[in-house]
């Protein structure tokens, strides 16, 4: 029998061995495809199916690998006239078969959204690495264990090791971006890649040559810990990247006129010694429909005694951060998301009136403990950071009327009426969209919310477009079939966007919106056009002499 014949013989046997699991795997894929083609009608049930798919693929791989375990001392398959490399190749071929089945399902499911070729290619390509990595890890661990129980026990043990390592050793990577071994520093990416390749090569080598089991255990553990840790390490690398790049960016051109002011808003905390500080960025618009997004801002507060506090307004952060003030530590919490300069009412194309409109403002609220200095306006500030300029692109357009629908470029939109209250209806938009997972964006949470598409209501007669607000009433975000791409299904209740307030007053309540003849709904996607850095000269914080008291 030729080498290829042995591979096929072994693969066919593995497929027959796992036939029921394989049937379940295919059935789950089919169910997901049908569900996606029907617009995710049963997404409450199917949202967990991609996880079942992972479990099933894992079980199939474990079954096949452990049937011809390379680590079992005295494994009798070794005396059969089968080339060990053919056996190894058959296990890899099995993973490829599972991947191809998953990709076929992915392709079928995504085709419902009519993505263009590039989108589809990207989505399918993005699905390959996570599946391959998970498959390879499963195969490596399975090759060193004898049963499904021992596989999961090994996985738990490796997970515990990982947690330990994370606490003991890996965490410094977050700040340094490199691993330190014996006083020498190694680039993280290189280290991860080297250890991962070495571990997998070692596991593969055990097929070719019998190796003692206990030798393998350590290597296997190291391999999986590394791969588990990779996400953390990559995240650390990514988060370190923007800061290092900021100095190389060009300065924000004058046309944007970005300005920052810092002033005390008042005390909203039960702690009278704490005040909220508003940092207001203002920016004008350019000539095109565009947005300016603050990616990273650093505010250096200097107090009269010479103490300083640096506060980062980081596009990565989604939770309160902290800052150090000189020798003592004070908490400065970021309460709002990074700055997004909204276009509350814009023309399409921009009208002369909008070109001349004043600077748009956006406020970020910080909570700081240096009440006395801030209140008295004795602190000075220096702000720098960088911004992204996003251009709006017309991604989809449909009549703003009941039952209108549009499917193109990976997004399917349908407008429906929904009962808001007895006798009152509200336009609701059902959106199904796809995208390939952007590792950077996914890991860091960077650019997600602020780059979400905008909705404009276009009045052709008046040649104006108005920003439409959308409230998410239902949202399911899951893989179309296998991980690597996202299938997002949302129900959005449409309403007029509230007018942004000035001077800390509440926003103007949203007006009811209803379908209107002659108007069209435009979906604007935001694409990054450029990134700039900015710096403000030192300025004094606007103080507030009498802070409102908050009862305890």
């Amino acid at each position: 029998m030729t080498w290829g014949g042995q591979l096929w013989h072994s693969l066919r046997t593995d497929l027959r061995h796992a036939r029921w699991l394989l049937a379940a795997y295919i059935a789950v894929i089919a169910w997901l495809v049908v569900d996606r083609l029907q617009g995710g009608a049963s997404d409450q049930i199917t949202s967990w199916l991609p996880y079942a798919l992972i479990l099933l693929s894992g079980l199939i791989i474990i079954t096949a690998v452990q049937a011809q375990s390379p680590s079992a001392e005295g494994a009798s398959w070794r005396v059969l006239p089968l080339s060990p490399t053919a056996v190894l190749a058959s296990k890899l071929a099995l993973i490829v078969c599972l991947l191809l089945l998953g990709l076929t399902g992915q392709w079928l499911a995504l085709s419902a959204l009519q993505p263009d070729a590039a989108q589809l290619r990207a989505a399918l390509a993005a699905s390959v690495p996570p599946f391959s990595i998970c498959g390879a890890i499963t195969a490596v661990v399975a090759s060193q264990t004898r049963s499904i129980q021992s596989f999961f026990l090994a996985l738990v043990a490796i997970g515990l090791c990982f947690v330990l390592l994370l606490n003991l050793g890996i965490d410094p990577v977050r700040t340094n971006g490199s691993l330190s071994v014996g006083g020498r520093r190694f680039p993280v990416g290189f280290t991860v890649l080297a250890v991962a390749i070495a571990s997998m090569a070692f596991a593969a080598a055990t097929y070719v040559r019998p190796v003692r089991r206990r030798v393998l255990l350590g290597v296997c553990a190291a391999c999986v810990v590394t791969v588990f840790g990779a996400e953390q390490i990559v995240a650390a690398q990514r988060s370190a990247t923007p800061r290092s790049r900021v100095d190389t960016l060009p300065y924000l051109p004058d046309q944007y006129q970005l300005a920052a002011t810092i002033h005390v808003l008042g005390a909203t905390s039960a702690d009278p010694a704490q005040v909220d500080v508003g940092i207001q960025f203002a920016v004008n618009r350019g000539d095109e429909i565009e947005r300016i997004l603050l990616d990273y801002g650093s505010i250096l507060l200097t107090f009269p005694e010479g103490d300083t506090a640096r506060v980062a307004i980081d596009g990565f952060l989604r939770r309160p951060g902290s800052a150090h003030l000189g020798a003592m530590e004070e908490n400065v919490n970021l309460l709002q998301d990074p700055l997004v300069v909204p276009q509350s009412t814009i023309a399409w194309p921009p009208s002369d009136r909008d070109r001349a409109s004043p600077l748009r403002r956006s406020t970020i609220v910080l909570r700081a403990d240096r009440a006395a200095h801030l209140r008295a306006g004795r602190a000075t500030a220096h702000v720098d950071g960088y911004v992204s300029v996003l251009s709006g692109v017309n991604a989809a357009e449909l009549p703003f009327e009941r039952d209108a629908a549009n499917t193109m470029r990976g997004r399917k939109i349908a407008l429906l009426d929904s009962v808001r209250a007895p006798g009152i209806t509200q336009p609701v938009m059902h959106v199904q969209s796809m995208r390939s997972v952007d590792a950077l964006g996914e890991i860091s949470g960077f650019r997600r919310a602020s780059r979400a598409p905008s909705l404009l209501l276009l009045d052709s007669a008046a040649r104006t477009a108005t920003d439409v607000g959308a409230v998410v009433t239902h949202s399911v975000n899951s893989p179309p079939v296998i991980f690597g791409a996202k299938w997002h299904r949302m129900h959005l209740a449409l309403q007029w966007k509230p007018q942004p307030s000035t001077s800390g007053l509440p926003d103007t309540p949203a007006a009811p919106l209803s379908f209107g003849a002659g108007t069209r709904l435009v979906v604007v996607e935001w694409n990054e056009r450029a990134r700039y850095q900015f710096r403000t000269p030192e300025f004094r914080v606007s103080g507030l002499d009498s802070l409102p008291r908050v009862p305890r």
Binding site: Q6, G74, S76, R78, V79, P81, S83, P210
Partner: protein
């Protein structure tokens, strides 16, 4: 020509030395019994020779090939069957045969059918559902049907009833004799082994303490019985083992017997003493060699008559 040659073979499990610079030569076409007490290293040796383990030191060749570099073609000429061998539990016997058959150009379907009948195996039963003995029969079927040139059998009779064991032994004798197979057999069932093998090796503490043909063994090992009504024997001749005394009767085993043994013994004993020399079984040789002191199985001296 030798089918198996091992030189200075060592294998270590942690701190335990399972095989200690072991040498072994198995002639082609022979049926070689590897005997030894539990833990002497028989299974380890067999697995190294079958290419399932790597020796820590030393070299081993089977059918002229280094066991570390056995090709697929080499493996098509070798079969291995062992007690506790993990068969694919999910397969039925017929599926197991269908899996193995394409791997061996020499697979003999008629022999497989005959073995299935002889062992009374149900082709539709799952291998995982078979009893230990029946699973062993299935494993034997898989090992014998390719008509291998070299067959490793590690405790093949485990769990088999007497009739099947007898059939298997006869089948082995037929096949091995006709086909010129070389069989390396390791078993605790010495009575069955004795019927089959023509060579024997004895392993003890990872070392080969003896390796020779059954013909040589049977001519060299003899049981001696001396009956002397008036005296008892106090000192035994060189090489005496397994000494038993009962009144005037003394029995022992010698390992250096030749045609002059009886005459030599008579020459040292009074004329009224009765000397008888018997052939010994493999079991007796095994027990004697396994229990003899390591330093040597000899107690120097000649017969001395003492008062009864």
């Amino acid at each position: 020509m030798a089918a198996i040659v091992a030189q200075a073979l060592s294998y270590r499990y942690g701190r335990t030395l399972a095989l200690d610079a072991l040498d072994l030569t198995v002639p082609e076409g022979s049926m070689y019994a590897l005997l030894g007490p539990n833990g002497s290293g028989k299974t380890t040796l067999m697995q190294i020779l079958a290419g399932m383990r790597r020796a820590s030191h030393g070299s081993a060749h089977v059918l002229g090939r280094d066991v570390r570099h056995l090709s697929v073609a080499d493996r098509q000429r070798i079969a291995y069957v062992a007690e506790g061998q993990r068969l694919p539990a999910w397969m039925r016997l017929d599926e197991w045969e269908a899996y193995l058959a394409p791997l061996y150009p020499t697979w003999d379907h008629a022999l497989a059918q005959s073995l299935r009948d002889r062992f009374d195996l149900d082709p539709k039963r799952k291998l995982g559902a078979l009893s230990r003995g029946t699973a062993m029969k299935a494993a034997l079927l898989g090992a014998l049907a390719p008509r291998p040139q070299l067959l490793f059998m590690d405790e093949p009779f485990t769990g088999m009833d007497v009739i099947v064991k007898d059939e298997l032994v006869r089948g082995l004798l037929d096949s091995a004799g006709q086909e010129g197979w070389t069989v390396l057999l390791c078993s605790h069932d010495i009575a069955e082994v004795e019927l089959v093998v023509d060579w024997m090796g004895l392993l003890r503490d990872g070392r080969m303490t003896m390796s020779e043909s059954m013909e040589s063994l049977q001519s060299r090992f003899k049981r001696v019985e001396i009956v002397d009504a008036g005296v008892s024997v106090d000192r035994l001749p060189r090489g005496a083992m397994q000494v038993e005394r009962s009144g005037a009767r003394t029995r022992f085993l010698v390992s250096d017997a030749d045609e002059t043994l009886e005459a030599r013994l008579r020459a040292q004993l009074p004329s009224d003493a009765r000397v008888e020399v018997f052939d010994v079984s493999l079991r007796e040789v095994f027990v004697a060699m396994s229990t003899a002191p390591r330093s040597g199985m000899e107690s120097a001296g000649s017969f001395v008559r003492v008062p009864a």
